[in-house]
C-alpha cells in the first residue's frame, strides 16, 4: 500500500490534469469546488484519472454524492435533512462533514470536500 504522501502526489497530478490548476494550488486543505473550481462534470473526469492512477473502481456517486444532494427525500428547502446527513456520512466516511452539518445547505457542500478528503478516499479504497 502506498504511503499517504505517495497517494497525495498522484491525487495532485490527477487534479492538475483534470482541472487545469497549478500544482501549488493543490494543497491538502484546498476545497475541490471553491478553491480548485471543480464542476460536476469534473468529478467524472477525476474518477477516470483516479481509477487509472490507482487501479481502483469507483462507482457513480461514490466520490461526489450528486444523487443525495438532488433528492427530495434528503433535501428540503435547499438544506440537507438529518436523514440526508446520515446518508452522506455512511456513503462518505472519508469526508469530514462536521462543518457542513452546522449549515447543511446544498450550496455549502461545494466548499466541504477537500483535496485531503480525496486522499483519504483513495486510502480507504486501497485498504478495502
Amino acid at each position: 500500500m502506498p504511503s499517504r504522501d505517495e497517494i497525495f502526489e498522484k491525487v495532485k497530478s490527477a487534479l492538475v490534469d483534470a482541472l487545469g490548476v497549478d500544482e501549488e494550488d493543490v494543497s491538502p486543505n484546498a476545497t475541490m469546488v471553491g478553491d480548485l473550481g471543480a464542476e460536476s462534470i469534473d468529478f467524472l473526469d477525476i474518477v477516470f484519472r483516479l481509477e487509472k492512477a490507482f487501479g481502483i473502481k469507483i462507482s457513480r456517486g461514490e466520490l461526489f454524492p450528486e444523487d443525495v444532494l438532488s433528492s427530495s427525500e434528503y433535501v428540503v428547502d435547499g438544506k440537507v435533512n438529518a436523514k440526508g446527513i446520515a446518508t452522506l456520512k455512511s456513503r462518505m466516511p472519508f469526508a469530514d462533514l462536521a462543518k457542513f452539518e452546522q449549515n447543511p445547505s446544498v450550496q455549502n457542500f461545494a466548499n466541504t470536500l477537500t483535496v485531503e478528503d480525496m486522499v483519504r478516499y483513495v486510502q480507504s479504497k486501497l485498504a478495502a
Binding site: 490534469d17 462534470i41 467524472l44 473526469d45 474518477v47 477516470f48 487509472k52
Partner: protein
C-alpha cells in the same frame, strides 16, 4: 447547415479507435478572413474535428442511446498551423468509457508530422438532462453514411458494423 469538420472516416473500430480525414480547402468561407493572404485553419475548429471523430466513436460505442456532448477539452497542444491543401488525419482513441461519460485522446497529423493533440472528455446525457435532441434519427444516419462509418467500420472481432434501421 450542419457543422461538419471531418470529411470521412478511414478506419472505425467500435469502442476502440477511429481515424478520420479533414481536407483543408481555401474554398471554405471561414478561411477568407482568417487571415487574408495567409489563410490557416483555426485550431479551435481542429478541436471540433477531433471532437466529431471521437464523439461519433463514443456515440456508436453506447448505441447512440444518450446525447454525447463535448464537456471538457482537458488538454490541447498544437505544433503548427494547418493550411489550405493540407489533409488532416484525426486519430481518436477511447481511453475510458462509462455510462455517464468518456475520456478520449485525439491526435491530428498532417503528412507524417503531429500537428496537435488533445484529451477530450464527453458527457453522455439522457433526455431531460438539459440538452435538446441533437439529431433526428434519419439525419444522424445520413451523416453516418456520409462519413462512411458502415463502409469502413468493424467491431473488435473484425466483423462489419451493421447499419441500423432507423
Amino acid at each position: 447547415m450542419r457543422w461538419f469538420w471531418i470529411d470521412r472516416f478511414d478506419e472505425f473500430v467500435r469502442a476502440r479507435h477511429a481515424t478520420a480525414v479533414k481536407n483543408v480547402s481555401l474554398a471554405e468561407e471561414h478561411m477568407h478572413d482568417h487571415f487574408p493572404g495567409a489563410a490557416l485553419m483555426p485550431n479551435s475548429l481542429i478541436v471540433e474535428g477531433m471532437a466529431q471523430t471521437a464523439g461519433l466513436l463514443v456515440a456508436d460505442a453506447i448505441d447512440y442511446n444518450r446525447r454525447v456532448v463535448l464537456a471538457k477539452v482537458a488538454q490541447a497542444e498544437f505544433q503548427f498551423d494547418a493550411v489550405p491543401g493540407d489533409s488532416i488525419r484525426f486519430r481518436a482513441d477511447i481511453l475510458d468509457l462509462k455510462p455517464a461519460g468518456s475520456l478520449t485522446k485525439v491526435t491530428s497529423t498532417v503528412g507524417d508530422k503531429v500537428q496537435g493533440q488533445a484529451e477530450l472528455f464527453f458527457a453522455h446525457l439522457e433526455p431531460g438532462e438539459g440538452v435538446p435532441k441533437l439529431f433526428e434519427p434519419h439525419e444522424l444516419l445520413r451523416w453516418l453514411d456520409q462519413m462512411h462509418i458502415y463502409d469502413v467500420g468493424r467491431d473488435e472481432a473484425g466483423n462489419r458494423l451493421v447499419r441500423p434501421e432507423w
